[in-house]
Amino acid sequence: MRTITFSQATLEAMQEEMRHDPTVFVYGEDIVRQGGIFGQFKGLPEEFGDRIRDVPISETAIIGAALGAALTGTRPVADMHFADFISVAFDEIVNQIAKNRYMFGGQVNIPLVIRAPDGISKQAAAQHSQSVEGWVQNVPGLIVVAPSSAATAKGLLKSSIRQNDPVLFFEHKLLYPQKGPVPEGEYLTPLGKAEVRKPGKDVTIVTYSIMVQKSEEVAVELEREGISVEIIDLLTLKPFDAKTVIESVKKTHRCVVVHEGVVTGGFGAEIASRVQEEAFHYLDAPVLRVGAKNFPIPFSPILENYVAANQEDIKCAIRKVLHREG
């Protein structure tokens, strides 16, 4: 299979969907003249003209207008520059976009996608390093997606654009330049379905986005010690594929949830809660969570490393649930 970057994969998704449906358009800050900070929009202006547009630094307008456009027959894709800034348009996201369909009694669909590059990268410090799925996990009415690879990025972005509901699409900044195998031609990756990245017997890792690959590295290492790890890549965080997760845990009897964001109050709490609710009698150990320590992401590399979760933390949690500490 050919190999392209995550960034190119999302670009292909945009191209195909914009060709496929003339009501799809995309806008965001600084995406036309330089192709996006991660090159993820390069070439779209040449092909689609005014259907890709730069906007002022006006996040409430970007997101609020995306809603208005979606309500009136177009399919906007709004780029958020950095996921950290969904905070600026938070009212539009949680009180308008998430609620309009329901509070209007289902009169209308809201087909829009908010693309939000997230995660820790290059000492960008507290306001440019966040994984913010935790902010929206308690908001009914949103679909939340987080691809982990070039292939899933393309397939999920295409599905998200076709979905008749609002999708928050988190793309980890460090994934953009990474290459991966991507099938030729059109394909869709279904929303709401997790993928088992690696089958295993002893413990289930539930993870997503960039932590999938970190988990895979750990799994390879632990395999040598005779520990067999099953890795579930959620892909869609909301609604998440509880069935696949629960089935796996019923088989392995142990579960570690891994994400990059802060553990306390993070999305991992929902997963851990669900697992123990639905598979309590199968569990041989508590569900453990791995993620960032309870601080903003600091600037200095040493501090950043310390706050972020790493492979060691994952290993440590796995050893704990297997009662093989030390």
Binding site: T60, G64, A65, A69, L71, T72, D91, Y102, F104, N164
Partner: protein, 343 residues
């Protein structure tokens, strides 16, 4: 208060007598609906929060008479008048206020969330200033699809202090979007006088900050509203870009039904009721010009009364939703496709 005026051509004079009466009809229908809703709220028939449009009818009426069904509007928490003027049915509105299954939102929305997408009414909004950018988005749809639809955003004086106002007007301006921003300056944001919270004498002055035209008119004169809206909407529809129109009015009723109204005197309100009622003023205007007679006025009132009585009966007779219907309508797919959605 000296308005920053512009003479708009008198398009009202070009209307047929029937269409002229149509404006009065709409105003009276709104008034009748609102007056009855007030009573029904006080009689505990209508739950929730209710914000009445009484005294402001000329604005929605004069503006909407210049819109097509395919045009869009965004509304506010004070949205009944906008909905009626845009063509919503009072029976389904009343049913919604009751929380009945036959309401516009199947009982999920209530007074603050009435919408009717079949007539381009994109929804009342419980968040002050939440509508500006929705209207801008509708304008973007018209641009992308190359239609000549326009979007009108109604907003209060209080809402003009929200940051969304700024971002919406700037974006609409740089892209020359077909959006008309209609300010309903009813002199109060809840308990707070406009003059206290707003740093400009005229909200229309803010248009200058967006390279936009801005005008202030007497919002209780439906003829003036009609004429200004006719001119501005026509310009925006043919590509002149967005515009801001401030309509000066007065909120005769409390901010919500039940408001103790400690922030103003009864006398101030009474003076407005006597001197500045938009319906009385319009009837006087028509009569002076012999454009209507008492019998015709009476008929309009009677018809409005029986329509609203019928709407009330419709609401009364309609069933409540089944409790489980709470689980519908969140997404375009059914919850059974993703069982966890309906947890």
């Amino acid at each position: 208060m000296p308005f920053q005026k512009r003479e708009f051509p008198n398009r009202f004079a070009e209307l047929s007598r029937e269409d002229q009466h149509g404006l009065l009809k709409t105003m009276v229908r709104i008034r009748t609906f609102e007056s009855r809703v007030e009573e029904l709220f006080l009689n505990r028939k209508v739950p929730g929060f209710v914000h009445l449009y009484i005294g402001e009818e000329a604005i929605a009426t004069g503006v909407m008479a210049n819109l097509r069904k395919s045009d869009w509007i965004t509304s506010t928490h004070r949205g009944h008048g906008h909905a009626i003027a845009k063509g919503a049915q009072t029976d389904r509105m009343m049913a919604e206020l009751y929380g009945k299954k036959t309401g516009y939102c199947k009982g999920k929305g209530g007074s603050m969330h009435i919408a009717d997408f079949t007539i381009g009414m994109l929804g009342a909004n419980g968040v002050v200033g939440g509508g500006f950018n929705i209207a801008v988005g509708a304008g973007i749809s018209a641009m992308i699809k190359k239609t000549d639809q326009v979007a009108v955003s109604f907003f209060g004086d209080g809402a003009s202090n929200r940051g969304t106002f700024h971002e919406a007007l700037n974006l609409a301006s740089i892209w020359k979007l077909p959006v008309i921003f209609i300010n309903e300056n009813n002199q109060f944001a809840s308990t707070t006088p406009t003059s206290y919270a707003t740093s400009v004498a005229r909200i229309s002055d803010r248009a200058k900050g967006y390279g936009m035209e801005g005008y202030t008119i007497d919002g209780n004169n439906v003829v003036e509203v009609y004429n200004a809206a006719a001119e501005l909407i026509r310009g925006t529809r043919k590509g002149d870009g967005p515009v801001l129109l401030e309509c000066i009015t007065y909120r005769i009723k409390g901010h919500y039904v039940g408001d103790p109204e400690r922030y103003r005197s009864k006398k101030e309100v009474q003076k407005q009721v006597i001197e500045n009622d938009p319906i009385t003023r319009f009837i006087d205007y028509l009569k002076e010009r012999k454009l209507i007679d008492d019998k015709e006025v009476e008929k309009i009132r009677r018809e409005a009364s029986s329509e609203i009585a019928a709407s009330e009966k419709f609401a009364e007779d309609s069933p409540y939703p089944e409790p489980e219907e709470a689980c519908n309508d969140l997404f375009s797919f059914s919850p059974s496709e993703f069982p966890e959605v309906a947890l």
